[in-house]
Symmetry: C2
Subunit: 294 residues, 2 copies
Amino acid sequence: MDPAPLLARHVARFEAALDRLTPPADTRPERLHRAMRYSLEAGGKRLRPVLCLAAAELCGAAPEDALPAAVALECVHTYSLIHDDLPCLDNDDLRRGRPTVHRAFDEATALLAGDALLTHAFVLLSTAHADRPGLAHALIRELADAAGSRRLIGGQMEDVLAEKRADVTAADLEFIHRNKTAAMLEASLVMGGLVAGTPEPTLTALRRAGEHLGLCFQIVDDVLDATADQATLGKTPGKDARAGKATYVSLHGLETARRLAAEQTEAAVRELAAVPGDSAFLRALVASLARRDR
Amino acid sequence: MDPAPLLARHVARFEAALDRLTPPADTRPERLHRAMRYSLEAGGKRLRPVLCLAAAELCGAAPEDALPAAVALECVHTYSLIHDDLPCLDNDDLRRGRPTVHRAFDEATALLAGDALLTHAFVLLSTAHADRPGLAHALIRELADAAGSRRLIGGQMEDVLAEKRADVTAADLEFIHRNKTAAMLEASLVMGGLVAGTPEPTLTALRRAGEHLGLCFQIVDDVLDATADQATLGKTPGKDARAGKATYVSLHGLETARRLAAEQTEAAVRELAAVPGDSAFLRALVASLARRDR
């Protein structure tokens, strides 16, 4: 199955909702809301929203019912990128070919726009589902947990610390990616399932699929950084090696890293296949992410 | 009525819960969790938690039932201080006589500890009230709204922008304080009321009391900065005037500022008196905040 047509439909649906479910750019204070929209509208794969909409559909809900969850996930993802790019963390000037928020605006605005996007995720989930407080509560619990100090932010913190260490182990690297990357992918699939009122065993399969997908995604990133040419990758390859950064490739070698990526992909596909319903799109999407060349 | 004895009891109750309801300092990653606790345990007035516990008691709940809400409020307040102190905003080296988080740790850790505290507020509200999803939902909605881009962060953004402007009006200043300070005081009282299952008209009175208290608190701050001596204030007075910052004193003069503070105090006390129940403690607390000399 070619996932591209349904992927495009999910992305289009999501983009329309993103515009509707975030404050207009002329909301006071304008500078803050313009910065929030500048970063939200920068594009990107929209992977987390698509996983959420597709999981909702797989579990029998209308994808439209998962739009607030999808937008909340993207708000949290975008906030984490804005803060990541700040001078005290990665100090990046460009993201997706455009100036990062602190370059396009300034550091204070970027800091506050990140804070505002994180907060908006919870505003959105609690207002959009005001008539179903049980659902709002379950979605918020899942998202807050994935974004919290033990997961997304914890992975981020250990990533920062690892850059200054020469003794990073394979277990350390797995902790970082399990939390920095996989946590939000797990939440994306689980929140889709929650919207559909899916029972616990299925939520567990979705969570496991997200975890495997997150690890696969990160290993493929490391492999591409070590092997791709600049024209294909769209950014400078070899950055990790030059920075002396521990990666799956530096710790395990290229061949083992490729094998580990394939294993994680297979495991993700297996978990998805165990979910009752038609998981063909999600399985094809996962396979295409493992095969990507940028 | 002297509010001091009950104030001390509320603070002691809160401090014990703060320790219980935040991740231990040795949670992985340790550096992140140590920074979160370093800032949470720095003390301060604990005004927001006390308002929340007292409002719950006023409305007929056991103050203990409001402890998760009180801790969540303090997490959000503390995160806003950590981010405020960062070099790209106020660039403060000291807070309450101790090095700020980015001085005691580093900027990256301070940024992430702030993010983690904001997120923890929602983790806490959704887990502590897992058996009452309706309550969890109402508390989260109230807190997210108060902390959001139109209120706490919006006030913060306009405050940053106002520092670079020479034409700040009285209406601009009120927007800043209504959102930067009053929003969280409103939420503190309202969340106490929500824990007690208080009906809407009373919640509205609590919200109005918080708004008046927030404005009074800020005007008194401005008056103290213009009049107090360093020994009494515990920090350098006259900072605002030297920075050319618009304040209630610079815009309205000292006498009018004092009158406005008295009017806001009276209005807050009047709203509290309208709430059914014994509001003597909260009214005395508000009066004592208006009379404070530091």
